[in-house]
């Protein structure tokens, strides 16, 4: 069977599945055909959820979980790029432990980035171009301040986007990542000023509530606006 024929058949079945009634027979037919042809379809399917080209930028389509995952992928790309630059040439004032822990964080963010890339497969957006011109990578203060912003913002981003996820597996995965980001945030904050690991009063702009003991939570539009200055690639958002 040719790939194109299979795709047409697939779409027809999908249409009848969602518009008509689903009896046992049709479901099994669909499932059988789908399982048999899945590899082919997957290989032949077009990138319709997110793409990058030089003029159009990257598109995050929040109509489904893939949009949320690509949003996370974009933020992890940003964080990874930042820590790669820090770890490759740490500020001279960094202690040995700070150097080691920033290297750890670098590999965590790379692992997150590569995980999303792999999980999204053909639905993944492309690589983002970053703009770190405002950061002085030789100055520990500048590096720590930027790391704090990225980590606190990352926590608020995951906290705010979790409710959009419909797939339980992805929801738990987002939870597995956000607590690691929160650990980073706490560590970085303590490097700036010991004891500020959970200074929620300073995070009200990120949606935190000190009186309720709640961390930040921001919707994607607010996060992207705050992350915008660090991202050169144009990010288009739809269905938010």
């Amino acid at each position: 069977m040719k790939n194109t024929e299979l795709k047409v058949k697939d779409e027809l079945q999908e249409e009848s599945l969602f518009n008509g009634s689903l009896g046992r027979r049709s479901f099994l037919q669909f499932a059988g055909a789908s399982a048999a042809g899945l590899a082919l379809v997957a290989a032949g399917c077009k990138k319709d959820r997110g793409y990058i080209d030089t003029t159009m930028g990257a598109t995050l389509d929040f109509k489904d979980d893939f949009g949320v995952l690509n949003y996370a992928y974009a933020l992890e790309q940003l964080e990874a790029a930042f820590y790669i630059q820090v770890a490759s040439a740490p500020p001279a004032a960094f202690t040995a432990t700070q150097k080691a822990y920033f290297q750890d964080v670098q590999f965590h963010e790379i692992a997150h980035r590569e995980f999303f890339k792999k999980a999204l497969g053909t639905a993944a957006i492309g690589s983002l171009e970053v703009n770190f011109s405002s950061i002085n990578f030789s100055d520990a203060g500048s590096v720590l301040a930027t790391a704090k912003t990225f980590e606190d913002l990352g926590v608020a981003a995951y906290n705010g986007a979790g409710v959009r996820l419909t797939n339980t597996t992805y929801l738990v995965l987002a939870g597995q990542i956000v607590s690691v980001e929160a650990r980073h945030a706490a560590y970085v904050r303590d490097q700036i000023s010991n004891g500020t690991f959970a200074d929620l009063g300073t995070l009200s702009a990120f949606g935190a509530s000190d009186s309720n003991g709640l961390d930040g939570a921001l919707t994607p539009d607010k996060v992207l606006a705050l992350a915008g200055p660090f991202i050169k690639t144009k990010i288009n958002v739809t269905n938010l």
């Binding site: 379809v41 999980a119 979790g162 650990r183 706490a186 560590y187 004891g195 690991f197």
Partner: protein, 285 residues
Amino acid sequence: MNILNILDEIEKVDGEIYERLNPRRAAMKSFFNAGKKISLAALPLALGSMFQKAYGQSNPANVVEVLNFALALEHLEYNFYNRALLSTGLIPAGAATGAITTIRTHELAHVNLLKGAITAANATPINLVEANFDFTAGGGFADVFTNYQTFLKVATAFEDTGVRAYKGQAPVLKGMPVLTTALQIHSVEARHAAHLRQMTAAALGVGLKPWISLGAGGVSNDTGIAAVDAVYAGENNTIQATIEVTGIATGVTRAAAAESFDEFLTGAAVKNIANLFIRTGFKLS
């Protein structure tokens, strides 16, 4: 794998499987849409997700249950830190007392927030007071309020457990506004855990990191404290959603892979841990 066999097997125990799946068009649609995007190898995962949707347990009673479960853990944490701060000479003055005071304040805020949410749902908040707890865990941590190191060990275990507990309950709250609140508590607990791990590392002179790493020889418990093995069970996992994270990029070692994702604990596993510190008659069931 054979999806027809799976459905046939389910039909043997649940004759209404097709009826259950039928009204869940949205679930089916997302499943089949996903099917186009993922490899065959990942299909079992997607299938599991479809059945979770068909058998989803997101009714209000379960939500209240989750909130009360969280409230019980917050009671435990608040009373623990409160007793510690009242124990003269236990926590050094200055930064250490400041940090524990910050954490106690947050735990009390969580208690009050959860109480309010449960009351607003016309349900009864669980009430646990200090006398209902045994923070020595039957004598296993006999000097918890006289020995600073023991106190820090137990505190770290509580916070790392709390992080895992909230994560494990997230699916019940999926798609609800209360999920966001739970996530906002969850990441605060993770911040506490990271700081307590640093306090523990300093006080014990050990290399404990702010994030949960691999234990010696690759075991799941990186604290080296055997009594809290259950708190870290499975934390050495490196496979997420069927994807092996070790070696996913250059430099992502097994330790980095384990560190980069925290793991959840089931409600039952968390209750087993919490019940070690709760007196008979008040244990969580």
